[in-house]
Every structure is written in structure tokens, then in C-alpha cells.
């Protein structure tokens, strides 16, 4: 961080927001959806249906009594045709409920807006909506919204930064579902008794900033804040710092410094549930990259294979060499396009050979670019050296656990060293070393 700056370090990345002006298109219901019982951090859900059962849209098909969890609902109407284990993106075997759709999209009878009149019924509704952090982390929202020291929380911050290149789904949501967003924010502030609501949006999304500002001009408790258009403004710790100036001490949570952060689409999905009783069954996803024929924003039922989204976007125009779930900075490259849209899927990027091939690593030239770029003010090159030496103590001393894997260091490194990846491995080493 420059000694003269009030901002955290950040980097400039190309935006490639090809789909910013593409209104969301609802894709047709696929023949089959494959809904994973692992949709959030925490305890996986147990299937609440059996093979042969008929299900309707909005029906609970997976749940668990474990605390850190959220229910999973059917995104289609049809018949459960299989419940089996399948390999997922993260390389683990998850229980998958396969539903063969009847294309009628019949809604579960009795689906009605929840009764909300205080904090407890509000939190209950949040859980019932099936919400998890939709930006990526997938932490159950009802837990995040209900910290022990809720009375000390004074700021509810909505992450409208969408700092990842290519992705525009949040931007489209802000433009297309602004009523839901603002009303969802108002309800959250009301029932959680939080004084201030902040929507942080990067300056490159001026239409959204203007639109939302106009809508809240009579609501002094809500502020639409323009953020610098740099990466990673949407990182939780970064966003809190940039909007409130507060730093979260190591080992603490946002709530400990009086802030709760939520994603744009989470607030919209919550308000949708409050108004209609329809839980989270579909997701707005940006399909882009240079191997796709027509980049689009697509609303897809949860459990739709990404190959179907790709077909909906005109198929591949070049042979794909890499498919990424999420953005190019933090998203995960997948083994094949049979993976499905999950609650936290925000984008599907397809890269041709040229984009998919990263340059070869060369020796570190000690240029310090990684150090200058790290928003968490870490020393990536030293962390990499400590990892190479398998020096757990040094890794801990250099605070490897603070690394949010944002990838800024790897991005700027002229030697093309995979520093963020090394830190991922370094964290694992510390975890294993700590156990011994």
C-alpha cells in the first residue's frame, strides 16, 4: 500500500464485460436436472425424496438438522429418477438427486409468503428460502444474518462490486430487479434492526448507481456508494474497508466490527421469497468467454448442466480448452461441461486454447509487484519461498491464513508464478502441520 493511500492495494484488470447490456434470458427447462445435496459450506443435506417421487417447483428435496446448513428445493416439476453419488467440481463425491422434468413447471401447492413480524420469524424465513452466499463462498445466509452480537451491528453492506472480469449477472440483477433489491434491503434493516444500509458498486456500473440512488433518495439510512473500479473490491474484507474504513482484526468476523455483508442476488432472492414464498430455485448466470458463440446472461434452474447453458448460448464457436465456474480471477476450472449450476454459480466462462494456456513460470526476480498488489498486505513472494521450504512456522508468521486467494499476486507477477495457488497449498500445510 502506498503510504499516501487510504485504499487497500488493488490491481487493474481488463473488464471484458461483453454481456453488460444483455438482458437476462430465461432458459427453457432442461430434460433433467441434477441437484447436488452439497450446496453450501457446512453439513450436506439429506435427500427428503425417494426415487419415483413426483416433485414440484419449490418443494424441499434436501435438508438436515445440522446448524450450518440450508434446505435445498426442487427447481422443476417432474419425477425423481435417481439419487446417487457423482464426482463434482471440487473432486469429491456428492449425493445428487436427478429429476426428470415434466416441463410443466407446476408450483408446489400452498406455497405462500412467509409470516414475518420480528427478527426470529425473519431469520426463519431466510433459512426457509434456502439462501446461501450466492457470490461464491456459499455460507448459509440465516447464520450470517444472525450473529451473536447482532445488536452491535450497525452496517449492512451489499456487495454490488462485481469486480471479476466477464461477469455481469449482478449488474443485470441491479438493473432488472432493483425493486426487489431495495425492498429486500429495507426489510433486512427493519427486522435485524440495523441502522445503515450500504450498496457498494464499482464506478464502471454507473447506470446501476444512478438508478438505485434515485430509488433511495428519500431513505437516508440507505447509501449507494461508488467504489473504485479495481479488483478485488468485492472481497469481503476489502469491501468493508472501502465502505466503512474498518479493518477486521485477524481471527474475527465482520460482525465483530459491526458489519454484515451480503451479495446482490441473495437480497433479491430473499425479497422474492418474502413476497411470493418461492425459495431459491434458479440462478442468474453470465455465460461468456471467447469460446462461446453468443455470450449471454441466463436464468437457469438450479441443477441444470452447464452444457445445456452452452447450447442455449449457441454452442461453442471455438474448441473450449478451459471452462471456469465463476470469474477468471477466483473461479474454478472444471473437468467437463457436465457440471451443474449450483446456488453459488455466478458465471460460466469458456476459454479457447490461447486464453486457456497460461505462460510458463520463470524464476522470481524479486520485483515486489506481488507485495505491492496484495490487498491483505501480505508478502506473497516470501510466502512462496516459505512454502517451497515447507516452513510451516514461517508460513504462519507471514500470516498465510489471511490470504483470500484473490489472485492479485499471481496476476501481476512478471515471472508468472502461481502465488495464489501456492498460498492455497501453504494454508493446507499449516492446517496439517498444526494438527501434528
Amino acid at each position: 500500500m502506498s503510504i499516501f493511500s487510504k485504499h487497500l492495494p488493488a490491481i487493474h484488470v481488463e473488464h471484458y464485460k461483453y454481456t453488460a447490456e444483455s438482458p437476462t434470458e430465461k432458459m427453457p427447462v432442461p430434460d433433467k436436472v441434477y441437484i447436488s445435496m452439497v450446496q453450501h459450506i457446512g453439513a450436506p443435506c439429506q435427500p427428503k425424496v425417494e426415487v419415483g417421487d413426483l416433485v414440484k417447483v419449490g418443494q424441499v428435496i434436501g435438508d438436515t438438522d445440522a446448524f450450518v446448513s440450508a434446505p435445498i428445493h426442487s427447481s422443476v416439476s417432474g419425477k425423481v429418477t435417481a439419487i446417487d453419488k457423482s464426482l463434482t467440481m471440487s473432486g469429491v463425491w456428492d449425493l445428487i438427486v436427478t429429476i426428470t422434468t415434466d416441463k410443466k413447471q407446476e408450483v408446489l401447492e400452498g406455497l405462500a409468503p412467509p409470516q414475518i413480524d420480528d427478527k426470529d420469524s425473519f431469520i426463519k424465513a431466510v433459512r426457509a428460502s434456502g439462501l446461501v452466499g450466492l457470490g461464491g463462498a456459499a455460507f448459509p445466509t440465516h447464520i450470517k444474518f444472525n450473529p451473536k452480537n447482532l445488536d452491535e451491528v450497525d452496517s449492512f453492506i451489499i456487495n454490488g462490486a462485481e469486480c471479476e472480469p466477464y461477469l455481469t449477472a449482478d449488474y443485470r440483477t441491479m438493473m432488472e430487479n432493483s425493486e426487489l433489491l431495495i425492498n429486500g434491503l429495507k426489510n433486512t434493516l427493519k427486522y435485524l434492526k440495523i441502522k445503515r444500509g450500504i450498496i457498494g458498486i464499482e464506478s464502471n456500473k454507473a447506470p446501476a448507481i444512478n438508478k438505485l440512488r434515485a430509488m433511495v433518495k428519500d431513505n437516508p439510512e440507505i447509501e449507494v456508494m461508488e467504489l473504485r473500479s479495481v479488483y478485488p473490491q468485492g472481497g469481503e474484507r476489502v469491501l468493508i474497508y472501502e465502505t466503512t474504513g474498518r479493518e477486521i482484526p485477524i481471527g474475527k468476523l465482520p460482525a465483530d466490527i459491526g458489519a454484515i455483508v451480503s451479495n446482490i442476488s441473495s437480497v433479491v432472492a430473499l425479497q422474492n421469497f418474502i413476497e411470493t414464498g418461492m425459495p431459491l430455485v434458479s440462478k442468474k448466470v453470465t455465460v461468456s468467454g471467447n469460446a462461446i458463440r453468443i455470450p449471454k446472461n441466463v436464468e437457469a434452474p438450479i441443477g441444470t448442466p452447464i452444457s445445456q447453458l452452452i447450447t442455449f448460448c449457441g454452442g461453442y464457436k471455438r474448441t473450449p480448452k478451459k471452462i471456469i465456474m465463476g470469474g477468471p480471477m477466483m473461479g474454478a476450472a472444471v473437468y467437463d461441461d457436465g457440471m451443474t449450476v449450483n446456488k453459488n454459480t455466478s458465471g460460466i466462462l469458456t476459454f479457447d486454447e490461447e486464453l486457456a494456456t497460461l505462460p510458463k513460470e520463470t524464476p522470481c526476480i524479486s520485483c515486489g509487484r506481488c507485495i505491492k498488489a496484495c490487498p491483505m498486505l501480505l508478502m506473497p513472494t516470501l510466502l512462496a519461498k516459505a512454502y517451497d521450504a515447507k516452513d510451516v512456522e514461517q508460513l504462519q508468521k507471514l500470516n498465510v491464513n489471511l490470504c483470500m486467494e484473490c489472485g492479485c499476486c499471481s496476476y501481476v507477477c512478471p515471472a508468472k508464478k502461481q502465488l495464489a495457488f501456492t498460498n492455497k497449498l501453504g494454508k493446507r500445510l499449516v492446517m496439517e502441520g498444526g494438527k501434528k
Binding site: M1, K322, I365, I371, M379, N399, G407
Partner: protein
């Protein structure tokens, strides 16, 4: 589940896009930045200056390739760092230096200082500077015999004399000091690439513009020399244009590996370079102190980095 493209997709860890700045591109920028001074060295000292620099470059590249071939390491010739070291070493020599001595200097720079310590990014001191200092103490006379600028037609008559700082150091006939204008343009005696302040300044600005270097070290270095000279009652313009200050401040002290990483450390490092330079110039027995100053600060760099660590987000000092 429909499995498409299985086995043909690249699976790698994020991030999936990277900046287009590479080590080679950075070194190329440094070389571009050195072009004005290179041209001026030919204009001022004639073709022998050009030949000497070319000799250093060729020797540096060959030593690096040879060392990496013998030790079976991956070749790093294409990153151009050996070329940069060669040019910088050449710039630090008098244009009359025997070619074989320049080759010895290249050996010291590439093999002894750079490769034995593990190659690019691992050396504890600037290779070109260290080589210069080694040559200076080994071959004191040829290393301090300064050809005076030839006329513009490039005669090779070896007319030698004292450098401006030499004149100052001897303190005898100060009236023979060149004008500040000659100093600024570089038509004075000295190492072949260090005399033209204007050419080096243009190169330095190019490096700043390309974001290859940050301004802190050059600013602190040159600023300290300026203020020190002022306080010592001497002409500050003379001191920042004479000797290797410009070359040192923009091209040598900013060497990534041997200077501090963080801004505060860089400023302290630059001030240290400036102070040492002036102390040696005014109170030492050598007329010129830039090389020694940078070498000394190179050695102190790990300590400076330790002293000026920063706090991480969340307030832990690492």
C-alpha cells in the same frame, strides 16, 4: 450425467488470466531506457565506447549460457537480464579499458555474483556494481584513467585527464571544472555510460512511465545528494550531474533483487545511497562514491526490509 469434453480441458488453479508484463518485457524496457545513454557514449567517447559495451554484453550472455549449460540449469538467456547486466557493466567502465578486463568484469558479474548465488533474483548485490568495484580494486590504474571526450568526429586519440569529481577531489585548479551544461550533456571525462545526465534522465523517465521502477529510490537518492551538496556549500547541480549519480539512481540502485520491497524501505535506501555517495566524495579518498554507496546499501537491504515491515490487513506486523 452428460459428460462432455472430458479429458480435453485444462484444469488449473485460479487466477485464469494474468497480466502481460513478463520478466523479458521488463528487461527489454530497461534496455530501451538505456539506448539514449548508449548513443551518447558513442558520441562522447567514440566507437571504442560502443565496442566495450558490446564486449561486456557478449561476455555476460556467454558466461550465463555457459554456466547454465555446465550446471544443467534451465537457460534464462531469453529473459534478457544478462544483456542488461552487460550494458550496465560497460557503462561503468572507462572507454579505454582493455577488453580482457571487461571480460573479467563480466565473469565476476554473471558467474560470481549472479549465478553462484542461484541466478536471477537471488544475488545479494548488484552484479554490475560489484564487478566494477572488483575491477577498481584489482586494476586501479586502467580503471581510473579517464579518456576525455573525443571530438564529434570520433577520433580515438587517447587524451586522458581527470573527471570533474577528480578535479574537485584534488582541489587544485577548480577553474578547469566543466560548465554545468557540459556536465548535463555529458561532454566530460568519466565512465563511458555515466556522463550524460540528460540521456540517463530520459531513460529514467521512460522506466517510470512504463512502471518498471517506482520513483522513491531515485528521488531519495538524487534529493539527498542535492541537499547534502547544498549544505556543504557546493553546487548541487554539479553533484547530481557528475559521476554516476544519475546512472546509479535510476538504473543500479533500483535493481529489484538488491533494493527494499516497500516504499518506506525504498526511501531509506535511497537516502542511504545519497548520504554515502556524498560522504565518500567529500571526505573519502576516492573522488567518486556511487558504486560503493550502492554496494553498501545492497548489503543492508535485508536489514532495511526487516526494519520497515508493514502490518498486514488486520494489524499484524510480519
Amino acid at each position: 450425467m452428460g459428460r462432455y469434453n472430458q479429458g480435453t480441458l485444462i484444469v488449473s488453479s485460479s487466477p485464469h488470466i494474468v497480466d502481460n508484463v513478463t520478466t523479458t518485457r521488463i528487461m527489454l524496457d530497461v534496455l530501451i531506457a538505456l539506448i539514449p545513454a548508449f548513443i551518447m557514449s558513442g558520441v562522447i567517447f567514440g566507437s571504442r565506447a560502443i565496442l566495450l559495451t558490446v564486449t561486456c554484453v557478449a561476455a555476460c550472455v556467454l558466461f550465463e549460457a555457459g554456466f547454465q549449460y555446465i550446471t544443467k540449469k534451465d537457460s534464462t538467456i531469453t529473459d534478457l537480464s544478462a544483456v542488461v547486466t552487460g550494458v550496465l557493466l560497460g557503462f561503468n567502465l572507462p572507454s579505454s579499458l582493455p577488453f580482457w578486463m571487461a571480460v573479467v568484469g563480466s565473469f565476476v558479474a554473471i558467474v560470481v555474483v549472479k549465478q553462484i548465488f542461484g541466478g536471477i533474483g537471488q544475488n545479494f548485490a548488484n552484479p554490475a556494481i560489484t564487478a566494477r568495484v572488483v575491477l577498481l580494486v584489482s586494476f586501479a590504474t586502467p580503471m581510473t584513467t579517464w579518456p576525455l571526450p573525443s571530438n564529434l568526429l570520433g577520433t580515438t586519440d587517447a587524451v586522458t585527464g581527470a573527471t570533474p569529481l577528480g578535479i574537485l577531489n584534488m582541489g587544485t585548479d577548480l577553474s578547469s571544472l566543466p560548465s554545468n551544461m557540459d556536465l548535463f550533456l555529458g561532454f566530460v571525462g568519466g565512465s563511458l555510460g555515466e556522463t550524460s545526465a540528460i540521456a540517463l534522465l530520459i531513460g529514467g523517465i521512460y522506466l517510470l512511465w512504463r512502471k518498471v521502477i517506482e520513483p522513491w529510490i531515485p528521488l531519495a537518492f538524487i534529493g539527498t545528494v542535492f541537499i547534502f551538496a547544498l549544505l556543504a556549500g557546493q553546487d548541487p547541480i554539479f553533484h547530481i550531474c557528475a559521476g554516476g549519480v544519475m546512472l546509479g539512481a535510476f538504473f543500479m540502485a533500483t535493481d529489484y533483487t538488491t533494493s527494499p520491497h516497500l516504499t518506506t524501505g525504498k526511501i531509506v535506501f535511497g537516502i542511504g545511497c545519497g548520504l554515502m555517495t556524498m560522504i565518500i566524495r567529500l571526505y573519502g579518498s576516492y573522488p567518486e562514491g556511487v558504486s560503493f554507496a550502492i554496494l553498501l546499501m545492497n548489503i543492508l537491504t535485508p536489514q532495511i526490509d526487516m526494519l520497515f515491515r508493514r502490518k498486514t490487513y488486520g494489524g499484524v506486523k510480519i
